[in-house]
């Protein structure tokens, strides 16, 4: 019976086909016989059909017979399932809630993975796009000196395999060298186009200035990407010539925010860094350039940088050792990426070899490699793919935990229904039919959980976006619930339902009917299964707790890093006067005057300015990056910070000797420097550094040391920071862009309004950007660690809760089952304490078994997250001990209630019950 039914609904398609064949044979045989009796072939076929009746209808009838059976049974199961769920509301609600949390968390994380790792660029035929990269041995191999054909850069590089250096930026002549590969004699590309990230520019529309991200693109860019304009036209080859009319393309969002719609923007004048441009077109709404990590507001022709960055930018086009432009190509039909690489690599090698000036440079020439470009540049993938895999593993474990828990609850519930099942089996119900009915119930639970989980996921995605973006100005990572994600969620729900439903279903329909009918109690195997599930839950939650512990400890370590400067009560914001048309020396005066006005705001104790915030000093590009010497000794590993008056006072950095930089340090006065204590100790020992000199070799300037400050963590919190700092005067090393810092009373964000007013009064063309408190600015650099520790703490609490519910349920059930035994023991004189211990001993045994399994698992799994940890070993014994202690106490707490109940059993009642 069982196999027959199974065949009926799993092979319905094959059945339908075989039915068709049978019917055709029938018609053919009838026609053949009629023909043999003297009919014409044509008449015979018609007569055969007439006698047969409506072929399609008969097929429908046949199909209906096996389908209605299946559907009516399914209907029965669903109705029965609903009744069963309604009959045990507490259980159903708990199960649905657990699943909703598990499935929701998985959906949320998966939607992020989908958006980062799996989505293609919204351009024509993304599959034929390739990104040009190169890799070489690192420039600072062996010694500290930079030896590489790449003498100057504007852009990024990142570590590749085996310590290699990988990058996507090239000198402009390289683009010229490779361009012939789009022509007829070398046809591997249909187009080859270049672009570079122009970072933040000041965009003024009708006198309103804001900060906008710009992308500079070659004339083939839009044609190569096969993108067409939402309005107007896009940049073409004619626009990308020296001396061409200054034109700009804006993004759809910018057109809406700044012009009220794409069509209104066309032909409008705008100012980019105070240079007039005309808007000629608007990109389509879904287009975000080639890097999912950025969404440019503004696209300018490549050579427009001669206007915005000044004529000195011209050298970028001829310098073979200055790396800045990124490239993408579109493969011609039929050309594979490997073929294209084989064609391009030798040509690039030949070119790049000619740019090497020394043997050292020749020893580590960059080698060209092509990468798939369908998903755009990989910066987001590099940044987020590993964290997301870790998170996905954690939520996967949570879901497994939820499934184990529900399976456990179902097993306990199966005991209650065992009599029912036994009765149905003995009345002749098929076992498969019963299993199917039970599975329908669990899949229904899971589907409800999945539906609720989607709601939970929507909330989770918002929270996660908030956590991950953590104050980033234009965070472009937008996860969404599309059909692909929802499909995965639906599949996950069904799989969960089958997973947690199958074992209990098979268990409870075991055909050993008679003993059950007789005494109505469950036997040994189920208890064993329950114990296995409890141990598994404890093991899983321990792994999650260890992970959470490691991340929390990492965050603590980061927060306890000695900054050496004030974290609280400081407001930071950034201005770029150069982009509004200011030039030195007027610009320095402008910045200095503004500082004085800011200092006069009531509640502001002191105001200062510097090239950047201290925390981002390492990556923001210093005032000076060349070689520094004290006498003949080269200073290694010191950071330079151009700072205005009262910098040390505002940042509350103690002055150990001499003075800080003040208003008397002018461009015309002798250059001065303040050095940190560590620097003084390292290079002057016990000598007095005051009055000694530091030489900035590349600038050919000598700075007199006028003060010594306490040590400051220059740059990021993690290893990249340095305690050796040289403070120079911002007036003597003027930066284009400055970050102001105000030391205030009360909440720094209360002063934002006054700041904006003062800046507008000073020059309305300058937008106030990167407004943040010092604390937020610091936390921004460790947003991943903060996200991880918050999320994982949440996961760990959830896991612990689920495991405890499981433990509590199992122990309660066991106590209920053992009422008779416990009653007998107590009647024979067992003390209450002994009974409590009897139950708790089992709890501890289960917990110990779980721990024994998971400690080695946690130890090996934590090694995978080593790169996420800071000053914390993956096998940190304290974390392991705390996680173990928390888990054991929680287990005892969960086991105590049933144990107490067991000890309160009235022996007389229990024996009577038996």
């Amino acid at each position: 019976m069982l196999m027959r039914r199974l065949r009926y609904w799993t092979e319905s398609a094959r059945r339908s086909e075989s039915l068709r064949e049978e019917m055709e044979l029938h018609l053919a045989e009838r026609a053949a016989e009629l023909e043999a009796n003297g009919m014409t072939a044509e008449n015979a076929q018609a007569e055969a059909r007439r006698r047969f009746g409506n072929v399609e209808l008969k097929r429908e009838d046949s199909r209906e017979i096996w389908m209605t059976r299946f559907l009516s049974e399914l209907g029965q199961d669903v109705r029965y399932g609903l009744r069963a769920m309604a009959g045990n509301k507490a259980f159903s609600a708990l199960a649905v809630l657990l699943l909703a949390l598990g499935i929701g968390a998985n959906t949320a994380i998966y939607s992020f993975m989908e958006s980062i790792l799996l989505r293609s660029l919204p351009v024509g035929d993304p599959e034929s796009l390739v990104v040009l990269n190169w890799h070489s041995r690192p420039p600072q191999e062996g010694n500290k000196e930079w030896v590489h054909v790449m003498h100057g850069i504007q852009g990024h590089f990142w570590p590749g395999d085996k310590g290699a250096l990988v990058s996507g930026i090239f000198p402009y002549p390289a683009l010229e060298t490779l361009r012939p590969f789009t022509q007829e004699e070398n046809p591997v590309f249909s187009t080859l186009f270049g672009y570079f990230n122009g970072l933040h520019r000041t965009l003024a529309v009708r006198g309103q200035a804001t900060s906008a991200s710009a992308e500079y693109v070659t004339g083939d860019y839009f044609r190569g990407l096969e993108v067409s304009a939402a309005a107007g036209r896009l940049i073409s080859a004619e626009d990308d010539r020296p001396g061409a009319t200054a034109v700009a393309v804006i993004s759809f969002a910018t057109s809406r925010n700044r012009f009220g719609g794409p069509s209104n923007a066309i032909g409008q004048p705008i100012l980019v860094d105070n240079i007039p441009f005309t808007v000629i077109g608007v990109t389509p709404p879904e287009f975000f350039g080639v890097d999912p990590a950025a969404a440019p507001d503004l696209y300018l022709p490549l050579r427009a940088n001669l206007l915005t960055d000044g004529p000195e930018a011209a050298r970028m086009y001829s310098d073979g050792n200055f790396y800045w432009i990124e490239m993408m190509g579109r493969l011609r039909p039929g050309v594979s990426m490997a073929q294209a690489q084989a064609a391009l690599a030798p040509r690039f090698h030949q070119w790049v070899a000619a740019t090497a000036k020394t043997d050292g440079e020749r020893a580590k020439l960059p080698a060209l490699i092509l990468n798939p470009g369908a998903e755009g540049l990989g910066s987001l993938r590099r940044q987020y793919s590993k964290p997301l895999y870790v998170l996905l593993a954690m939520v996967g474990l949570i879901l497994a935990l939820a499934c184990a828990n529900i399976a456990n609850l179902l097993l306990a519930r199966a005991a209650a229904r065992r009599r029912e099942m036994a009765v149905r089996l003995s009345l002749g119900a098929g076992r498969f039919r019963l299993v199917r009915q039970l599975l329908t119930e669990s899949v229904m639970l899971a589907s409800l959980g999945g539906a609720l989980g989607v709601l939970f996921a929507m909330w989770g995605m918002r929270t996660l976006t908030l956590l991950l973006s953590n104050g980033q100005e234009n965070f472009t990572l937008h996860a969404e619930l599309n059909w692909k994600v929802l499909g995965v969620t639906a599949a996950l729900s069904v799989i969960c339902g089958l997973l947690f439903g199958l074992a209990p279903a098979i268990q409870s329909t075991r055909p050993d009917v008679m003993p059950t009918l007789k005494d109505g109690r469950g036997g040994g195997p189920r208890r064993r299964a329950q114990h296995v599930l409890v141990v598994a839950q404890i093991a899983i939650s321990f792994v999650i707790m260890v992970a959470a512990g490691l991340f929390v400890r990492t965050l603590n370590r980061l927060h306890s890093v000695q900054l050496g400067y004030a974290r609280e009560n400081i407001l930071l914001f950034t201005l770029n006067a150069r982009q509004a048309g200011h030039r030195d020396p007027e610009m320095t005066t402008f910045y200095a005057n503004l500082r004085k006005r800011l200092e006069s705001i009531p509640g502001v104790n002191s105001a200062t300015l510097s090239q950047s915030s201290i925390i981002s000093a390492g990556s923001a590009g210093g005032a000076y990056r060349g070689t520094m010497k004290i006498g003949a000794v080269t200073i290694a590993g010191a950071g330079v910070m151009a700072a205005g008056p009262r910098f040390l006072t505002t940042m509350r950095i103690p002055i150990l000797a001499g003075r800080e930089i003040n208003e008397r340090d002018q461009a015309s006065s002798p250059p001065v420097a303040v050095i940190s204590e560590r620097l003084a100790r390292t290079y002057f020992g016990n000598e007095n550094p005051m009055g000694r000199r530091i030489t900035f070799v590349d600038d050919k300037r000598d700075l007199e040391i006028v003060g010594v400050s306490a040590n400051v963590r220059y740059g990021g919190l993690k290893g990249e920071g340095s305690l050796m700092t040289v403070f120079t005067a911002a007036s003597q090393f003027p930066p284009d862009q400055v970050t102001y810092a105000l030391l205030v009373a009360g909440d720094p964000l209360n002063y934002v309004r006054s700041v904006q007013e003062i800046v507008r009064e000073a020059d309305s063309r300058i937008p106030v950007t990167k407004v943040a408190t010092q604390a937020a600015e610091i936390d921004r650099t460790i947003s991943r660690e903060i996200t991880f520790s918050k999320l994982c703490t949440g996961f760990a609490v959830l896991a612990l809760l689920i495991a405890c519910v499981g433990l509590y349920g199992t122990m309660s059930y066991n106590v209920a089952r053992q009422i008779g035994e416990i009653g007998t023991r107590m009647a024979l004189g067992a003390q209450r304490g002994a009974v409590v211990w009897m139950v708790l001993r089992r709890v501890l045994l289960l917990a110990a078994a779980g721990l024994a399994i998971s400690v080695p698992v946690a130890l090996s799994a934590s090694r995978l997250v080593k790169s996420f940890l800071f000053e914390t070993q993956p096998d940190d014994p304290r974390t392991l001990a705390i996680a173990g202690a928390v888990l054991l106490s929680a287990a005892i707490l969960a086991g105590y209630a049933p144990a107490r109940r067991a000890s309160r059993i009235d022996p007389l009642a229990a024996l009577r019950h038996e």
Binding site: S18, E21, M23, H26, E29, R30, N54, R59, D61, S62
Partner: protein, 112 residues
């Protein structure tokens, strides 16, 4: 089970019985069953031939007959049906009921 009335049957449900009876004598494919019923009734019982197939599905689902691909007497690939033990039991049941029913009708009609 079958919700639609069988159109050409003079007695409801009789087609199932006729098929079981036929298959109790020998294993046959669909066309063979129709042929057998028509010939052995001297062409009195003209089944709408297509109705045979839903009936075969129904009997198969109930486990009374088994179908398997085989070869007919004139060497064509066909699905050959075979009655099962449960089918023989069912046939015996139906034969008994049928005998009772026809006897009762005959009594009423006064033809006994």
């Amino acid at each position: 089970m079958g919700r639609k009335a069988k159109k050409n049957d003079s007695l409801p449900g009789s087609l199932d019985m006729l098929i079981l009876r036929t298959l109790s004598l020998r294993d046959l494919h669909g066309y063979g069953i129709v042929q057998f019923i028509q010939q052995s009734s001297d062409n009195e019982l003209l089944v709408e031939e297509g109705s045979l197939y839903p009936a075969l599905q129904r009997l198969d689902l109930n486990g009374w007959i088994n179908g398997a691909w085989g070869v007919t007497s004139n060497n064509r690939r066909a699905r050959i049906y075979r009655i099962t033990a449960a089918g023989r039991k069912q046939l015996a049941d139906e034969t008994r009921k049928y005998a009772k029913l026809t006897l009762a009708i005959a009594r009423v009609m006064g033809t006994e």
